[in-house]
Each structure stands twice: as C-alpha cells, then as structure tokens.
Amino acid sequence: MAEEYWRWTESRWTDLGLSWKGGEIITAGVDVGSVSSQAVIMVDSRLYAYANTRTGSDSPNSAINVMNWALEDTDGLTLDKIQYTVGTGYGRVNVPFAQRAVTEIACHARGANFMYGPTVRTILDMGGQDCKAIHCDDKGKVTNFLMNDKCAAGTGRGMEVFADLLKVSINDMGELSLQVEEEPPPVSSTCVVFAKSEASGLLRAGWPKEKVLAAYSSAMVHRVVSLLERIGLEEDFAITGGIAKNKGVVLRLEKELGVKALEPKYDTQIAGALGAALFAKALVEKEKGKKK
C-alpha cells in the first residue's frame, strides 16, 4: 500500500488532574469540518478532554466517532451525562446528538478567546478547506470576518497535496521547510494546482525537498497575508487550525507581518469545538437562570 504522506496525526487528551464528577456544568462542543473533526468536553470553566480526528466521507459518523474518542479516557464519563452539546463546522447540522448548532465563525472566536486570552483581537484560522480572518472583542465576540472557502491556497488541503508530491509526512513539513540556508523565492502561483506543477519542475531541476517546501510555504504565506491585510491586523494576533502546527508557515507569516502570534497552549485545531462547548455552557447557565 502506498504510504499516505498527507495523514496528519490524530490525537486525544484528558486533563488527568481534573475530575468531572464534581462538576456542575458539563458540556461538549463538536466541530465537524470537511477535513477534520474535533470534540471538546468542558467541566465548568475548565477544558477537560478533547479529540481530533479526520472527518470521514460521512459527517454524522464523524461526529459520533470523535465524541466517543474524546470520552474514552474520562473515568467513566458518558454522553448521557453531558448536559448540552453544541455542533459547529460545515457539518454542524450533522452532529446528531447536539442540541443546537452555532456558526463556526462565532465558535472560533469564542474558542480563541479561551485559548489565547482576552487580549486576542485577530484570529487567523487556517483550516482544512478554508482560511478565515476573524476580528473579535475581549469577550470573544465576532466584530468582523473574511473568509476564503473557494480556493485551496492557504488551506490544509494545499499542504496535503504538497506532502504527497514531495513524499514528506505532513507532520514533518514545517521543520523541513526551515532547513534551508537561504530563503528561496516563493513559487509564483498561489493556486495549489499550478504551484504543484511549478514544484515538479523545480524538483526536476534539482531543488532539494526543503527548498521546494520553503518556496511553497512562502507562497502560501503571501496568500494568507493578503487576506489579513484586507481585514486589517489588530494585535494580539493568534493562529488556529491545523496549519498553525506548521512552524515553517508560522515563522514566515510572523516575519512577513512583522507581528508575533500568541503562543498556543492547546491543540490549535480545537478552537471551533472549544467555542462550541463554551456556548453550550452559556446556554445551560441561561436555562438554569430561567428556572430560578
């Protein structure tokens, strides 16, 4: 079987220092994207567990699978003990066990506010098949946003195409792209398809993989920077999504913007699901407030 270089690592995590049993409000958020899906479980105001997987060709199962995986190492926590689940992402209508769906933009901003703190004002989400620039306030409420979801440039799919072309595991691409002595000129096309042809030519001309990767990463950064320039960059700045894990892209982006991104403390792919879980918590609190 041919090796699948595009297969990025799936992951799950539980805060083992926390017990859900003492929690008053236990909520979940599920973000089903076109490429990846995440489930996040919150216990009161604490992040308790999460899982990050590849979305199958079938959204409803993707939601169930990722949720089950998030619940795996949670000391007996089961879906029925979760008081409220909010679904989001392009497959948000396909989270069968969610009580409500909230748009991914809103969830992303909320999630980033939790992950990076109340100083974050501009969030760049480089997702599987889209790229979003979001402005938010200190409470994580969206004040403006711009999205490119028509074009693979600046998205994870673009990176996957290059991983396959160069036969480099997508997890290693970031580091590898930094192993150049001198920054090569970026590939001339932002279009992934054309960039790929160009890259093939460069490889044939004898360019080593890291140089080609560096050139492509630069081109991708240009694309993303123009999105940010259109909406304006207000600090603090944070990056979410899978590509935030690619050091080569992040460093080049920071260099071109002249701004440092906030350091992530959590898996950058969970921002949407995290925001969804926070919305779920707010909805539970509201209901409880009504009952009193």
Binding site: S57, K150, S189, C191, V193
Partner: protein, 255 residues
C-alpha cells in the same frame, strides 16, 4: 510569402506555417521540461512533414505564455491579439472568442472589424482550465480523451459545489463513494469548468457569433456544457488548438 506563428503554451507548442491566408503546415508538440529542446524538435518535425524549411520562412511571430523565451524570433504578439486575428480570419462574424488552454482561460470581445474591444483572463486559478479536466479525469480513472464522450451519456445533472480543482477532486471522491454513475460525474466536471468560463464571458458581454478555441475545445463534453449554459450556438473550428499560432502567423504576414 511564407510566414509562421509559434504558440508556446503551458503544455504544448503549436506551429503554423501559412502561405497567404491558407495554412500550409501545422505541428503540435509537448512543451515538456525543456522548451527550447521541444521547439527544435517541433521545427524538425514540421520540416520533415511538410518539406518547408525554416530558412524559407519570411517572418516568424511568437505568442503564448512562453513567447518571449524563444530563439526563433523576437517578434511577439499577445495571446489575446493572436486569438482574435485567428478567429476572425476563420469566420468574419465572430464577436466573442473563448480560448481555453492548459493553464489559462480567456474571453475576448471583438467589434465588427475584428478589433479587440475587451477581454477577461483567468490565469491564477486552475478551475476553468485544461488542468482541471486532467486532474478530474485522473480522479475518475478515465483517460482524458474519453471524458468528453462519457459525459454525453449522462442521464442527470449532478451538482458539484467546488470551483477549486483541489476541492472538486475531494468532492469527486465523495460522489464516487456514493456510487454516482461515472457519466453523471463526467458531466458535472464539464459543467463546473463551463461555469467558470461563462463567468469570464459575462464579464466582457456575450455577443454572437461565439467561437471556442484552444485545446479544451476538443473536449465534446465541455463544448456541450458551454452551449447549454450560454444558450447559444458555439463555433468550434477544426483546428481549434492552432488558432493562436495561426493568428500569430497572420500577424507576421502583416494581416
């Protein structure tokens, strides 16, 4: 007097030698990795096939993406001008020229005298270019030249939301998983590329007669989709791929 036009495209090189207005010889060669080498081969081939030699040719003009990279001539003409000249020489009534190549799509508006009034180009995005169809044919595991005929057997329109070739490929994978019949997927592919081209045409304004040129015009599936979307008749000349080179050869003759 003999003149020649060379169209150095992203994927293929076209050479057309004309005698007066008539095409005396033509040749198509893959551009390959080394364009200069491929050009040499193309000339050798056309000489062998036609008996006409480079030395006999009065003037050579180059067009296409690689027009400035040839040693054979320093006289160049843009693809837009070349396409317009060539199209009008083939049919005086043409007012809209649609030129779809391997990596670019163009819509050109002409006046009654064949002069270019306006044009729109897509050169940044693979959607609406031959590269899109090639990628989709690969994903469907159908040889490129069979994709068009296959699409004509479609019994229902299937919507493909993606414009981007990369996303369309993922979408195809899902359609394949859902056991969508191949002819319907083939049709969806041509509808998608036609969509993109039609938006270019609408930018310059559609006026009949409409002529479709470039390599992708050889794809009957694409031609069918475009006709359906534009709701007009579309003229596809027999030498659709050579119209740019023909136009350059005409320009070389001062026409």
């Amino acid at each position: 007097m003999l003149t020649a036009g060379i169209d150095i495209g992203a994927k293929t090189i076209k050479i057309v030698i004309i005698d007066g207005d008539k095409i005396a010889a033509k040749n198509l060669t893959a551009a390959g990795y080394d364009v200069q080498e491929s050009l040499k081969k193309a000339w050798a081939d056309i000489e062998a096939q036609s008996g006409l030699r480079l030395a006999d040719i009065g003037k050579v003009m180059a067009t296409g993406a690689g027009r400035k990279d040839t040693l054979y001539t320093s006289d160049t003409i843009t693809e837009i001008s070349a396409a317009a000249k060539g199209a009008v020489a083939l049919n005086r009534d043409v007012r809209t020229v649609i030129d779809v190549g391997a990596e670019e799509g163009r819509a050109i508006k002409l006046d009654a005298g064949g002069k270019v009034l306006d044009f729109a180009i897509n050169e940044k995005c693979a959607a609406g270019t031959g590269t899109f169809t090639e990628a989709m044919a690969r994903a469907l595991e159908v040889p490129l030249e069979e994709l068009g005929p296959l699409s004509l057997q479609s019994t229902q329109a299937v919507v493909m939301n993606a414009q981007c070739a990369v996303f369309a490929e993922s979408e195809l994978v899902t359609l394949i998983h859902n056991k969508t019949p191949k002819p319907d997927m083939a049709r969806a592919i041509h509808d998608a590329i036609a969509d993109r081209i039609v938006s270019l045409v609408l930018r310059v304004g559609l006026e009949e007669k409409v002529m479709l040129i470039g390599g992708v015009a050889k794809n009957i599936g694409f031609v069918t989709s475009i006709k359906r979307e534009l709701e007009t008749e579309v003229i596809v000349p027999e030498d659709c791929e050579f119209v740019g080179a023909y136009g350059a050869a005409l320009a070389a003759a001062g026409k």
